[in-house]
Symmetry: C2
Subunit: 240 residues, 2 copies
DNA sequence: ATCCATTGGTCTGTTTCCAGACTTTTGACG
DNA sequence: CGTCAAAAGTCTGGAAACAGACCAATGGAT
Protein backbone atom coordinates (compact mmCIF):
# COMPACT_ATOMS: atom_id res chain seq x y z
CA UNK A 1 0.00 0.00 0.00
CA UNK A 2 1.43 3.32 -1.02
CA UNK A 3 1.42 5.76 1.82
CA UNK A 4 -0.90 8.68 1.14
CA UNK A 5 1.10 11.87 1.18
CA UNK A 6 -0.65 13.94 3.86
CA UNK A 7 2.43 16.07 3.64
CA UNK A 8 0.91 19.28 4.97
CA UNK A 9 0.87 17.71 8.40
CA UNK A 10 4.63 17.96 8.66
CA UNK A 11 4.70 21.61 7.80
CA UNK A 12 6.92 24.03 9.73
CA UNK A 13 6.27 24.38 13.42
CA UNK A 14 7.31 27.98 13.70
CA UNK A 15 7.05 30.79 11.24
CA UNK A 16 10.71 31.68 11.66
CA UNK A 17 12.05 34.81 13.22
CA UNK A 18 9.94 36.33 15.98
CA UNK A 19 11.21 39.82 15.34
CA UNK A 20 10.59 39.82 11.59
CA UNK A 21 7.28 38.13 12.02
CA UNK A 22 6.23 40.80 14.46
CA UNK A 23 7.30 43.63 12.18
CA UNK A 24 5.26 42.07 9.41
CA UNK A 25 2.23 41.69 11.64
CA UNK A 26 2.28 45.23 12.87
CA UNK A 27 2.87 46.57 9.41
CA UNK A 28 -0.12 44.67 8.11
CA UNK A 29 -2.20 45.92 10.99
CA UNK A 30 -1.23 49.45 10.03
CA UNK A 31 -1.80 49.01 6.34
CA UNK A 32 -5.16 47.37 6.96
CA UNK A 33 -6.13 50.21 9.22
CA UNK A 34 -6.73 48.04 12.26
CA UNK A 35 -5.16 51.00 14.00
CA UNK A 36 -5.95 54.05 11.88
CA UNK A 37 -3.75 57.07 11.31
CA UNK A 38 -3.35 59.11 14.47
CA UNK A 39 -4.42 56.34 16.80
CA UNK A 40 -1.94 54.51 18.98
CA UNK A 41 -1.10 50.88 19.43
CA UNK A 42 -1.96 49.26 22.73
CA UNK A 43 0.66 49.73 25.48
CA UNK A 44 3.75 47.64 24.95
CA UNK A 45 3.15 45.26 27.80
CA UNK A 46 -0.39 44.59 26.73
CA UNK A 47 0.48 44.21 23.06
CA UNK A 48 3.39 41.92 23.84
CA UNK A 49 1.03 39.68 25.76
CA UNK A 50 -1.49 39.67 22.89
CA UNK A 51 1.18 38.72 20.40
CA UNK A 52 2.67 36.12 22.69
CA UNK A 53 6.15 37.59 22.58
CA UNK A 54 8.39 39.33 25.07
CA UNK A 55 8.39 43.05 25.44
CA UNK A 56 11.99 43.23 24.27
CA UNK A 57 11.18 41.61 20.97
CA UNK A 58 8.12 43.75 20.49
CA UNK A 59 10.14 46.86 21.15
CA UNK A 60 12.66 45.90 18.51
CA UNK A 61 9.85 45.57 16.02
CA UNK A 62 8.33 48.88 17.03
CA UNK A 63 11.73 50.49 16.73
CA UNK A 64 12.08 49.19 13.19
CA UNK A 65 8.69 50.59 12.22
CA UNK A 66 9.60 53.86 13.88
CA UNK A 67 12.76 54.06 11.80
CA UNK A 68 10.66 53.33 8.73
CA UNK A 69 8.40 56.23 9.70
CA UNK A 70 5.28 54.16 10.22
CA UNK A 71 5.11 54.93 13.92
CA UNK A 72 5.66 57.96 16.09
CA UNK A 73 6.57 56.84 19.58
CA UNK A 74 5.99 59.23 22.46
CA UNK A 75 6.70 58.49 26.07
CA UNK A 76 5.11 59.56 29.29
CA UNK A 77 1.53 59.16 30.35
CA UNK A 78 -0.84 59.50 27.36
CA UNK A 79 2.13 58.52 25.21
CA UNK A 80 2.35 55.45 23.04
CA UNK A 81 3.17 54.29 19.54
CA UNK A 82 1.08 56.45 17.22
CA UNK A 83 0.38 55.31 13.70
CA UNK A 84 1.64 57.61 10.99
CA UNK A 85 0.30 56.16 7.81
CA UNK A 86 -2.22 57.30 5.31
CA UNK A 87 -2.95 54.94 2.47
CA UNK A 88 -1.17 56.28 -0.61
CA UNK A 89 -3.19 57.09 -3.69
CA UNK A 90 -2.40 54.18 -5.97
CA UNK A 91 -0.88 55.15 -9.26
CA UNK A 92 -1.17 53.32 -12.50
CA UNK A 93 1.52 50.66 -12.57
CA UNK A 94 1.40 50.03 -8.86
CA UNK A 95 -0.95 47.16 -9.26
CA UNK A 96 1.09 45.46 -11.93
CA UNK A 97 4.15 45.84 -9.73
CA UNK A 98 2.36 44.51 -6.66
CA UNK A 99 1.08 41.47 -8.50
CA UNK A 100 4.51 40.79 -9.92
CA UNK A 101 6.06 41.06 -6.47
CA UNK A 102 4.02 38.08 -5.39
CA UNK A 103 4.69 34.78 -7.09
CA UNK A 104 2.03 33.65 -9.52
CA UNK A 105 1.50 30.48 -7.55
CA UNK A 106 1.22 32.41 -4.32
CA UNK A 107 -1.39 34.71 -5.76
CA UNK A 108 -3.48 31.85 -7.02
CA UNK A 109 -3.09 30.13 -3.67
CA UNK A 110 -4.12 33.20 -1.72
CA UNK A 111 -7.15 33.88 -3.91
CA UNK A 112 -8.32 30.30 -3.68
CA UNK A 113 -7.90 30.27 0.05
CA UNK A 114 -9.72 33.52 0.47
CA UNK A 115 -12.60 32.37 -1.65
CA UNK A 116 -12.96 29.21 0.37
CA UNK A 117 -12.84 30.71 3.85
CA UNK A 118 -14.86 33.83 3.23
CA UNK A 119 -17.60 31.93 1.46
CA UNK A 120 -17.54 29.42 4.26
CA UNK A 121 -17.86 32.11 6.89
CA UNK A 122 -20.80 33.74 5.14
CA UNK A 123 -22.57 30.45 4.82
CA UNK A 124 -21.99 29.55 8.44
CA UNK A 125 -23.22 32.92 9.58
CA UNK A 126 -26.32 32.71 7.41
CA UNK A 127 -27.07 29.32 8.93
CA UNK A 128 -26.96 30.62 12.45
CA UNK A 129 -29.65 32.33 14.38
CA UNK A 130 -28.35 35.81 15.06
CA UNK A 131 -29.01 37.89 18.10
CA UNK A 132 -30.36 41.40 17.53
CA UNK A 133 -26.96 42.75 18.58
CA UNK A 134 -25.21 40.66 15.96
CA UNK A 135 -27.61 41.80 13.28
CA UNK A 136 -27.06 45.37 14.33
CA UNK A 137 -23.29 45.00 14.15
CA UNK A 138 -23.48 43.56 10.67
CA UNK A 139 -25.76 46.30 9.41
CA UNK A 140 -23.62 48.91 11.09
CA UNK A 141 -20.49 47.69 9.33
CA UNK A 142 -22.31 47.78 6.03
CA UNK A 143 -23.38 51.36 6.62
CA UNK A 144 -19.84 52.26 7.62
CA UNK A 145 -18.50 51.10 4.27
CA UNK A 146 -21.22 52.83 2.34
CA UNK A 147 -20.67 56.14 4.08
CA UNK A 148 -16.89 55.86 4.02
CA UNK A 149 -14.70 58.65 2.78
CA UNK A 150 -12.38 57.43 0.01
CA UNK A 151 -9.35 57.33 2.28
CA UNK A 152 -11.23 55.18 4.76
CA UNK A 153 -12.77 52.87 2.23
CA UNK A 154 -10.30 49.98 2.30
CA UNK A 155 -10.18 49.99 6.05
CA UNK A 156 -13.92 49.82 6.46
CA UNK A 157 -14.25 47.31 3.68
CA UNK A 158 -11.82 45.10 5.54
CA UNK A 159 -13.73 45.61 8.75
CA UNK A 160 -16.95 44.61 7.04
CA UNK A 161 -15.51 41.42 5.61
CA UNK A 162 -13.81 40.41 8.82
CA UNK A 163 -16.86 41.12 10.91
CA UNK A 164 -18.71 38.42 9.00
CA UNK A 165 -16.07 35.93 10.05
CA UNK A 166 -15.95 37.21 13.61
CA UNK A 167 -19.70 37.01 14.02
CA UNK A 168 -19.63 33.29 13.33
CA UNK A 169 -18.07 32.97 16.76
CA UNK A 170 -15.40 30.67 15.42
CA UNK A 171 -12.05 32.18 16.23
CA UNK A 172 -10.33 29.69 13.94
CA UNK A 173 -12.45 30.80 11.05
CA UNK A 174 -11.94 34.44 11.90
CA UNK A 175 -8.20 33.94 12.03
CA UNK A 176 -8.27 32.17 8.67
CA UNK A 177 -10.19 35.01 7.06
CA UNK A 178 -7.85 37.56 8.57
CA UNK A 179 -4.91 35.60 7.26
CA UNK A 180 -6.45 35.40 3.82
CA UNK A 181 -7.05 39.11 3.80
CA UNK A 182 -3.48 39.81 4.87
CA UNK A 183 -2.13 37.93 1.91
CA UNK A 184 -3.84 40.21 -0.57
CA UNK A 185 -3.60 43.51 1.29
CA UNK A 186 -0.86 44.95 -0.80
CA UNK A 187 -2.73 44.04 -3.94
CA UNK A 188 -6.00 45.55 -2.78
CA UNK A 189 -4.24 48.71 -1.67
CA UNK A 190 -2.84 49.06 -5.17
CA UNK A 191 -6.30 49.08 -6.71
CA UNK A 192 -7.61 52.63 -7.10
CA UNK A 193 -10.84 53.34 -5.27
CA UNK A 194 -13.10 54.45 -8.08
CA UNK A 195 -16.73 55.48 -8.06
CA UNK A 196 -18.15 52.75 -10.26
CA UNK A 197 -16.22 50.05 -8.41
CA UNK A 198 -17.49 51.27 -5.07
CA UNK A 199 -21.02 51.35 -6.31
CA UNK A 200 -20.70 47.84 -7.66
CA UNK A 201 -19.19 46.57 -4.42
CA UNK A 202 -21.87 48.34 -2.47
CA UNK A 203 -24.61 46.44 -4.24
CA UNK A 204 -22.83 43.17 -3.63
CA UNK A 205 -22.24 43.97 0.02
CA UNK A 206 -25.90 44.67 0.44
CA UNK A 207 -26.77 41.37 -1.18
CA UNK A 208 -24.45 39.55 1.21
CA UNK A 209 -25.98 41.15 4.29
CA UNK A 210 -29.48 40.61 3.01
CA UNK A 211 -28.84 36.93 2.43
CA UNK A 212 -27.30 36.50 5.86
CA UNK A 213 -30.16 38.28 7.61
CA UNK A 214 -32.66 36.25 5.60
CA UNK A 215 -30.89 33.11 6.80
CA UNK A 216 -30.29 31.95 3.28
CA UNK A 217 -26.88 30.22 3.40
CA UNK A 218 -26.86 29.38 -0.26
CA UNK A 219 -27.52 32.93 -1.35
CA UNK A 220 -24.98 34.27 1.11
CA UNK A 221 -22.33 32.01 -0.25
CA UNK A 222 -23.11 32.89 -3.83
CA UNK A 223 -23.12 36.59 -3.06
CA UNK A 224 -19.70 36.44 -1.44
CA UNK A 225 -18.33 34.29 -4.24
CA UNK A 226 -19.52 36.73 -6.83
CA UNK A 227 -18.09 39.64 -4.92
CA UNK A 228 -14.66 38.06 -4.52
CA UNK A 229 -14.62 36.73 -8.04
CA UNK A 230 -14.58 40.25 -9.36
CA UNK A 231 -11.43 41.18 -7.52
CA UNK A 232 -9.81 37.85 -8.29
CA UNK A 233 -10.45 38.22 -11.99
CA UNK A 234 -9.00 41.71 -11.97
CA UNK A 235 -5.83 40.56 -10.26
CA UNK A 236 -5.46 37.49 -12.43
CA UNK A 237 -5.60 39.74 -15.42
CA UNK A 238 -2.24 41.16 -14.43
CA UNK A 239 -0.52 37.83 -14.65
CA UNK A 240 -0.58 37.68 -18.43
CA UNK B 1 -16.27 56.62 14.58
CA UNK B 2 -15.87 53.58 16.75
CA UNK B 3 -12.93 51.49 15.71
CA UNK B 4 -13.97 48.16 14.28
CA UNK B 5 -12.46 45.38 16.35
CA UNK B 6 -10.52 43.34 13.79
CA UNK B 7 -8.95 41.76 16.81
CA UNK B 8 -7.85 38.52 15.21
CA UNK B 9 -5.15 40.41 13.41
CA UNK B 10 -3.21 40.83 16.63
CA UNK B 11 -3.25 37.19 17.44
CA UNK B 12 -0.12 35.46 18.78
CA UNK B 13 2.92 35.44 16.54
CA UNK B 14 4.28 32.15 17.73
CA UNK B 15 2.48 29.11 18.92
CA UNK B 16 4.54 28.96 22.08
CA UNK B 17 7.08 26.35 23.00
CA UNK B 18 8.89 24.79 20.03
CA UNK B 19 9.52 21.55 21.85
CA UNK B 20 5.97 21.02 22.99
CA UNK B 21 4.59 22.09 19.66
CA UNK B 22 6.80 19.55 17.95
CA UNK B 23 5.76 16.76 20.27
CA UNK B 24 2.14 17.59 19.56
CA UNK B 25 2.72 17.62 15.82
CA UNK B 26 4.50 14.32 15.74
CA UNK B 27 1.92 12.76 18.00
CA UNK B 28 -0.86 13.91 15.72
CA UNK B 29 1.03 12.59 12.72
CA UNK B 30 1.24 9.24 14.44
CA UNK B 31 -2.37 9.18 15.58
CA UNK B 32 -3.57 10.21 12.16
CA UNK B 33 -1.49 7.50 10.60
CA UNK B 34 0.56 9.80 8.42
CA UNK B 35 3.30 7.41 9.39
CA UNK B 36 1.64 4.06 10.05
CA UNK B 37 2.63 1.45 12.62
CA UNK B 38 5.95 -0.13 11.76
CA UNK B 39 7.07 2.63 9.44
CA UNK B 40 9.72 5.10 10.40
CA UNK B 41 9.85 8.85 10.50
CA UNK B 42 12.13 10.61 8.04
CA UNK B 43 15.77 10.95 9.17
CA UNK B 44 16.26 13.52 11.87
CA UNK B 45 18.12 15.99 9.74
CA UNK B 46 15.52 15.89 7.02
CA UNK B 47 12.56 16.04 9.40
CA UNK B 48 14.07 18.92 11.32
CA UNK B 49 14.36 20.86 8.08
CA UNK B 50 10.75 20.08 7.16
CA UNK B 51 9.52 21.25 10.52
CA UNK B 52 11.71 24.31 10.48
CA UNK B 53 13.38 23.54 13.80
CA UNK B 54 16.84 22.52 14.90
CA UNK B 55 17.86 18.94 15.20
CA UNK B 56 18.36 19.33 18.93
CA UNK B 57 14.80 20.42 19.49
CA UNK B 58 13.47 17.69 17.26
CA UNK B 59 15.49 15.11 19.14
CA UNK B 60 14.04 16.24 22.44
CA UNK B 61 10.57 15.76 21.04
CA UNK B 62 11.44 12.36 19.66
CA UNK B 63 12.89 11.41 22.99
CA UNK B 64 9.68 12.36 24.73
CA UNK B 65 7.63 10.24 22.35
CA UNK B 66 10.09 7.41 22.82
CA UNK B 67 9.63 7.61 26.58
CA UNK B 68 5.90 7.59 26.03
CA UNK B 69 6.31 4.41 23.94
CA UNK B 70 5.06 5.89 20.70
CA UNK B 71 8.39 5.50 18.97
CA UNK B 72 11.08 2.88 18.85
CA UNK B 73 14.37 4.52 17.94
CA UNK B 74 17.12 2.40 16.42
CA UNK B 75 20.48 3.64 15.33
CA UNK B 76 22.83 2.66 12.55
CA UNK B 77 22.13 2.48 8.86
CA UNK B 78 18.54 1.37 8.21
CA UNK B 79 17.76 2.64 11.68
CA UNK B 80 15.37 5.46 12.49
CA UNK B 81 12.41 6.35 14.65
CA UNK B 82 9.84 3.61 14.12
CA UNK B 83 6.22 4.21 14.94
CA UNK B 84 4.78 1.92 17.58
CA UNK B 85 1.13 2.75 17.67
CA UNK B 86 -1.96 0.90 16.71
CA UNK B 87 -5.21 2.77 17.08
CA UNK B 88 -6.88 1.46 20.25
CA UNK B 89 -10.34 -0.02 20.00
CA UNK B 90 -12.51 2.74 21.41
CA UNK B 91 -14.53 1.72 24.41
CA UNK B 92 -17.82 3.12 25.45
CA UNK B 93 -17.17 6.21 27.53
CA UNK B 94 -14.05 7.19 25.59
CA UNK B 95 -15.97 9.53 23.40
CA UNK B 96 -17.70 11.26 26.24
CA UNK B 97 -14.34 11.68 27.94
CA UNK B 98 -12.71 13.00 24.78
CA UNK B 99 -15.44 15.52 24.20
CA UNK B 100 -15.29 16.65 27.79
CA UNK B 101 -11.52 17.06 27.55
CA UNK B 102 -12.04 19.71 24.93
CA UNK B 103 -13.85 22.86 25.93
CA UNK B 104 -17.36 23.21 24.61
CA UNK B 105 -16.45 26.41 22.83
CA UNK B 106 -13.38 24.82 21.29
CA UNK B 107 -15.38 21.93 19.95
CA UNK B 108 -17.94 24.20 18.37
CA UNK B 109 -15.15 26.32 16.95
CA UNK B 110 -13.32 23.36 15.47
CA UNK B 111 -16.46 21.88 13.93
CA UNK B 112 -17.45 25.19 12.39
CA UNK B 113 -13.99 25.72 11.00
CA UNK B 114 -13.81 22.24 9.59
CA UNK B 115 -17.18 22.59 7.94
CA UNK B 116 -16.16 25.83 6.30
CA UNK B 117 -12.78 24.80 4.96
CA UNK B 118 -13.64 21.31 3.82
CA UNK B 119 -16.76 22.46 2.03
CA UNK B 120 -14.75 25.22 0.48
CA UNK B 121 -12.08 22.84 -0.71
CA UNK B 122 -14.61 20.52 -2.29
CA UNK B 123 -16.32 23.35 -4.05
CA UNK B 124 -13.05 24.74 -5.34
CA UNK B 125 -11.95 21.37 -6.57
CA UNK B 126 -15.26 20.76 -8.29
CA UNK B 127 -14.90 24.09 -10.05
CA UNK B 128 -11.51 23.22 -11.45
CA UNK B 129 -10.69 21.25 -14.50
CA UNK B 130 -8.88 18.18 -13.29
CA UNK B 131 -6.11 16.36 -15.06
CA UNK B 132 -6.57 12.62 -15.56
CA UNK B 133 -3.89 12.06 -12.93
CA UNK B 134 -5.80 14.13 -10.41
CA UNK B 135 -9.00 12.28 -11.13
CA UNK B 136 -7.17 9.01 -10.73
CA UNK B 137 -5.73 10.06 -7.39
CA UNK B 138 -9.12 11.04 -6.09
CA UNK B 139 -10.73 7.80 -7.19
CA UNK B 140 -7.85 5.84 -5.79
CA UNK B 141 -8.22 7.41 -2.37
CA UNK B 142 -11.91 6.63 -2.42
CA UNK B 143 -11.21 3.00 -3.23
CA UNK B 144 -8.60 2.88 -0.49
CA UNK B 145 -11.15 3.88 2.11
CA UNK B 146 -13.74 1.50 0.83
CA UNK B 147 -11.37 -1.43 0.90
CA UNK B 148 -9.81 -0.48 4.21
CA UNK B 149 -9.42 -2.94 7.02
CA UNK B 150 -11.03 -1.63 10.21
CA UNK B 151 -7.70 -0.74 11.79
CA UNK B 152 -6.77 1.30 8.73
CA UNK B 153 -10.10 2.99 8.31
CA UNK B 154 -9.46 6.28 10.10
CA UNK B 155 -6.11 6.70 8.45
CA UNK B 156 -7.42 6.23 4.95
CA UNK B 157 -10.48 8.30 5.68
CA UNK B 158 -8.19 11.13 6.70
CA UNK B 159 -6.11 10.63 3.57
CA UNK B 160 -9.23 10.83 1.43
CA UNK B 161 -10.44 14.04 3.00
CA UNK B 162 -7.06 15.70 2.89
CA UNK B 163 -6.44 14.68 -0.70
CA UNK B 164 -9.43 16.76 -1.72
CA UNK B 165 -7.81 19.80 -0.18
CA UNK B 166 -4.40 18.96 -1.59
CA UNK B 167 -5.72 18.51 -5.09
CA UNK B 168 -6.99 22.08 -5.12
CA UNK B 169 -3.34 23.06 -5.39
CA UNK B 170 -3.75 25.66 -2.69
CA UNK B 171 -1.28 24.88 0.05
CA UNK B 172 -2.99 27.37 2.33
CA UNK B 173 -6.26 25.57 1.95
CA UNK B 174 -4.60 22.21 2.40
CA UNK B 175 -2.93 23.40 5.58
CA UNK B 176 -6.23 24.75 6.88
CA UNK B 177 -7.97 21.43 6.27
CA UNK B 178 -5.12 19.55 7.90
CA UNK B 179 -5.34 21.85 10.87
CA UNK B 180 -9.08 21.39 11.10
CA UNK B 181 -8.68 17.66 11.02
CA UNK B 182 -6.03 17.75 13.72
CA UNK B 183 -8.39 19.48 16.06
CA UNK B 184 -10.91 16.70 15.98
CA UNK B 185 -8.58 13.71 15.70
CA UNK B 186 -8.94 12.59 19.27
CA UNK B 187 -12.69 12.79 18.97
CA UNK B 188 -12.84 10.85 15.74
CA UNK B 189 -10.51 8.21 17.14
CA UNK B 190 -12.89 7.76 20.04
CA UNK B 191 -15.77 6.92 17.74
CA UNK B 192 -16.04 3.16 17.16
CA UNK B 193 -15.73 2.08 13.56
CA UNK B 194 -19.00 0.28 13.02
CA UNK B 195 -20.38 -1.40 9.95
CA UNK B 196 -23.45 0.76 9.41
CA UNK B 197 -21.47 3.95 9.92
CA UNK B 198 -18.86 2.88 7.38
CA UNK B 199 -21.52 2.01 4.89
CA UNK B 200 -23.20 5.33 5.39
CA UNK B 201 -19.93 7.20 5.06
CA UNK B 202 -19.06 5.21 1.99
CA UNK B 203 -22.19 6.36 0.20
CA UNK B 204 -21.46 9.95 1.11
CA UNK B 205 -17.85 9.69 0.01
CA UNK B 206 -18.97 8.36 -3.32
CA UNK B 207 -21.39 11.26 -3.69
CA UNK B 208 -18.61 13.72 -2.99
CA UNK B 209 -16.29 12.23 -5.57
CA UNK B 210 -19.06 11.96 -8.10
CA UNK B 211 -19.96 15.61 -7.71
CA UNK B 212 -16.36 16.69 -8.02
CA UNK B 213 -15.76 14.64 -11.13
CA UNK B 214 -19.01 15.91 -12.61
CA UNK B 215 -17.75 19.43 -11.97
CA UNK B 216 -20.79 20.29 -9.92
CA UNK B 217 -19.49 22.62 -7.18
CA UNK B 218 -22.84 23.03 -5.56
CA UNK B 219 -23.44 19.34 -5.22
CA UNK B 220 -19.90 18.77 -4.00
CA UNK B 221 -20.28 21.32 -1.26
CA UNK B 222 -23.64 19.93 -0.20
CA UNK B 223 -22.29 16.39 -0.16
CA UNK B 224 -19.38 17.35 2.08
CA UNK B 225 -21.64 19.39 4.33
CA UNK B 226 -23.99 16.50 4.78
CA UNK B 227 -21.13 14.14 5.47
CA UNK B 228 -19.56 16.36 8.11
CA UNK B 229 -22.88 17.26 9.65
CA UNK B 230 -23.35 13.67 10.68
CA UNK B 231 -20.17 13.58 12.70
CA UNK B 232 -20.75 17.04 14.09
CA UNK B 233 -24.22 16.16 15.30
CA UNK B 234 -22.92 13.03 16.96
CA UNK B 235 -20.22 14.93 18.81
CA UNK B 236 -22.51 17.76 19.80
CA UNK B 237 -24.77 15.19 21.34
CA UNK B 238 -22.15 14.55 24.00
CA UNK B 239 -22.21 18.11 25.23
CA UNK B 240 -25.57 17.82 26.89
C1' DA C 1 34.89 -11.11 6.85
C1' DT C 2 35.26 -6.46 5.67
C1' DC C 3 33.76 -2.03 4.05
C1' DC C 4 31.19 2.01 4.39
C1' DA C 5 27.08 4.72 3.69
C1' DT C 6 23.52 6.02 6.55
C1' DT C 7 21.56 6.90 10.62
C1' DG C 8 21.18 8.18 15.51
C1' DG C 9 24.05 10.29 19.52
C1' DT C 10 26.95 13.95 21.53
C1' DC C 11 29.33 18.23 22.27
C1' DT C 12 30.35 23.38 21.98
C1' DG C 13 29.73 27.96 21.20
C1' DT C 14 26.39 31.47 19.62
C1' DT C 15 22.17 33.78 18.98
C1' DT C 16 17.60 34.70 20.05
C1' DC C 17 14.22 35.35 23.21
C1' DC C 18 12.34 35.80 27.62
C1' DA C 19 10.96 37.38 32.53
C1' DG C 20 11.06 40.81 35.58
C1' DA C 21 12.80 44.60 38.15
C1' DC C 22 13.95 49.22 37.78
C1' DT C 23 14.24 54.26 35.70
C1' DT C 24 12.62 58.19 33.19
C1' DT C 25 9.34 60.99 30.98
C1' DT C 26 5.08 63.15 30.45
C1' DG C 27 0.76 65.73 30.90
C1' DA C 28 -3.91 65.84 33.00
C1' DC C 29 -5.79 66.90 37.31
C1' DG C 30 -6.37 68.58 41.80
C1' DC D 1 2.31 74.44 40.65
C1' DG D 2 3.16 70.09 42.44
C1' DT D 3 1.31 65.16 42.26
C1' DC D 4 1.09 60.91 40.33
C1' DA D 5 -0.39 57.38 37.28
C1' DA D 6 0.61 55.54 32.94
C1' DA D 7 3.43 55.08 29.54
C1' DA D 8 8.09 54.27 27.17
C1' DG D 9 13.07 53.23 28.09
C1' DT D 10 16.86 50.38 30.32
C1' DC D 11 19.35 46.67 32.38
C1' DT D 12 20.57 41.90 33.82
C1' DG D 13 20.62 37.06 34.21
C1' DG D 14 18.91 32.97 32.35
C1' DA D 15 16.52 29.75 29.35
C1' DA D 16 15.49 28.12 24.77
C1' DA D 17 16.80 27.28 20.28
C1' DC D 18 20.13 27.01 16.76
C1' DA D 19 24.20 25.81 13.71
C1' DG D 20 27.60 22.87 12.78
C1' DA D 21 31.15 19.70 13.61
C1' DC D 22 32.15 15.33 15.22
C1' DC D 23 31.39 10.36 17.26
C1' DA D 24 29.34 5.70 17.24
C1' DA D 25 26.60 2.00 15.71
C1' DT D 26 24.52 -0.89 12.36
C1' DG D 27 23.71 -4.07 8.68
C1' DG D 28 23.50 -4.69 3.59
C1' DA D 29 26.76 -4.92 -0.13
C1' DT D 30 31.09 -6.54 -1.82
Amino acid sequence: MDAPSMLPLLRPVRSGNAFEETVERLLQAIKLGVVPHGEKLPPERELAAQLGISRVTLREAIRALQDAAFLDVRRGRYGGAFVVYEPPRPESGDLRRAVAAMGQGDLEDALTFRMAVECGAAEVLASAELTPAQRATLVRRLEDVNEAAPEDYRRLDTAFHLSIAELTGSSLLAAACADARLRVTDLLNAIPVLGPNIEHASVQHAAIVEAILARDPDAARRAVAEHLEGTAALLRGFLA
